[in-house]
């Protein structure tokens, strides 16, 4: 019974998709075919590509869109990750993972030595990714994820180590605060939230893009600490 209803529902949704795509041009490709891109205000993507480099001096247009034109979304997005980390902690509060770290089998020497050797280098790669977020693919979220993978490695490889949850929480809070404050400075200086108030510098240089790299650093730290916190909460006792 449930299966039939579900299949019927799927059929309706599928018919909707098919109807939507049939006929008239769709997406950026469709817009190009129908030559609607000529007008600047039809497709904002076009406009960002053509003017974004001059406006923010930020070589990666996606970063420019993520942190400047649509930076407010990113603030919400960071908040959502923050909520997920906190919510996870709230839900699992007071829970102890099956075996305590002492009883767990000691990891092999190969693993623990490798973890120790690699951990700083993983951190470095993560930091590299978010510092260069405005120049190359990647950015705060990706770099943060790499950093968290370093902590995951520690959790897996050196089981005796416990992450310092107070420090993680502090990093999380302070970087979130830094993002909001950077945005608010824009409001105070130029009357517009998230305004790129710093000199934007020369394109392709590391110091370019105004506040964009600074925000990405804050995001990188925040995402890294949040994901690490999630890993920490899932792997051990939650307090």
């Amino acid at each position: 019974m449930r299966k039939q209803i579900s299949l019927l529902l799927l059929l309706i949704v599928a018919a909707g998709f098919a109807l939507c795509l049939a006929g008239a041009p769709f997406g950026a490709e469709g817009a190009r075919e129908s030559r609607r891109l000529v007008k600047d205000n039809v497709n904002y993507g076009r406009r960002y590509v053509s003017k974004g480099l001059d406006e923010n001096r930020c070589a990666n247009i996606v970063t420019s869109v993520v942190l400047n034109y649509r930076g407010f979304d990113t603030l919400g997005e960071v908040t959502i990750l923050f909520i997920a980390a906190l919510g996870l902690g709230a839900v699992l509060y007071g829970r102890r993972a099956g075996a305590s770290p002492d009883e767990a089998q000691r990891p092999s020497l190969i693993l623990s030595t490798g973890c120790r050797l690699l951990f700083p280098l993983i951190m470095l790669v993560g930091i590299y990714i978010f510092i260069h977020g405005h120049l190359s693919p990647g950015g705060g979220f990706q770099g943060g994820a790499v950093i968290a993978s370093g902590f995951l490695l520690i959790c897996l490889g050196c089981r005796k180590k416990k992450l310092n949850s107070v420090a993680l929480g502090a990093a999380e809070s302070l970087s979130g605060l830094a993002f909001v404050l950077l945005a608010l400075i824009g409001l105070a200086v130029g009357g517009s939230f998230l305004l790129n108030f710093l000199p934007t510098g020369k394109v392709y240089a590391l110091f370019s893009g105004g506040i964009i790299p600074l925000i990405y650093i804050a995001i990188g730290v925040k995402v890294g600490s949040e994901l690490s916190g999630i890993i920490d909460n899932l792997s051990g006792e939650v307090r």
């Binding site: 020497l109 190969i110 030595t113 120790r116 951190m123 470095l124 590299y128 510092i131």
Partner: protein
């Protein structure tokens, strides 16, 4: 973690190692010699090494010397050569219709003391096709061997470990 219990000299060496390695990695990542990149890289590496400098102490990294660097370079070549040889060997066993393999687990002994040296040895053995390090217990390595030629510890050590270990002894001790 009992950070204060480490002697200052160890911490300093660990710090310098971390700084050097991470800066090399940074240079490789950025592939640029612009002043801004170098400056930021130096800052990041310095901060990382200051924050995490105890992490490398237990690895047992030896003091750096020209001889060790040269031997390390030589070692890389040796390792590469062994890998190529072993590749052909395993490929031969796979392609051969009779599949002449004799898999089994053997134990070898090592004279290396420091964690990092043991790890490099274990990983070198793993990287060479046909042998795979399962675990290190004390000074013994548990190895899965695709074609067990010798079952005694001494013979196995000679056949598997010695070709790497004689270089590693120079590098790490």
């Amino acid at each position: 973690m009992a950070e204060a219990s480490y002697p200052l000299g160890d911490r300093l060496r660990s710090f310098l190692y971390m700084l050097g390695i991470s800066f090399l990695v940074w240079l490789a990542l950025t592939a640029s010699l612009q002043a801004q990149e170098l400056l930021v890289g130096a800052g990041v590496c310095l901060a990382l090494s200051l924050a995490l400098n105890t992490g490398y102490i237990r690895l047992g990294l030896p003091p750096l010397s020209a001889k060790r660097i040269v031997f390390f370079a030589v070692y890389l070549v040796v390792l590469l050569w062994e890998i190529i040889k072993a590749n052909f060997d395993v490929a031969y066993r796979v392609v051969h219709p009779a599949m002449p393999i004799n898999p089994g687990i053997v134990v070898i002994r090592t004279e290396l003391k420091s964690d990092i040296a043991k790890m490099v040895l274990a990983n070198s053995i793993t990287l060479t096709p046909g042998t795979f390090t399962l675990d290190i217990i004390g000074d013994k390595l548990l190895i899965h061997w695709i074609n067990v030629k010798a079952e005694s510890v001494e013979d196995a050590t000679r056949l598997i470990g010695e070709r790497f270990e004689r270089h590693l002894r120079v590098i790490f001790q």
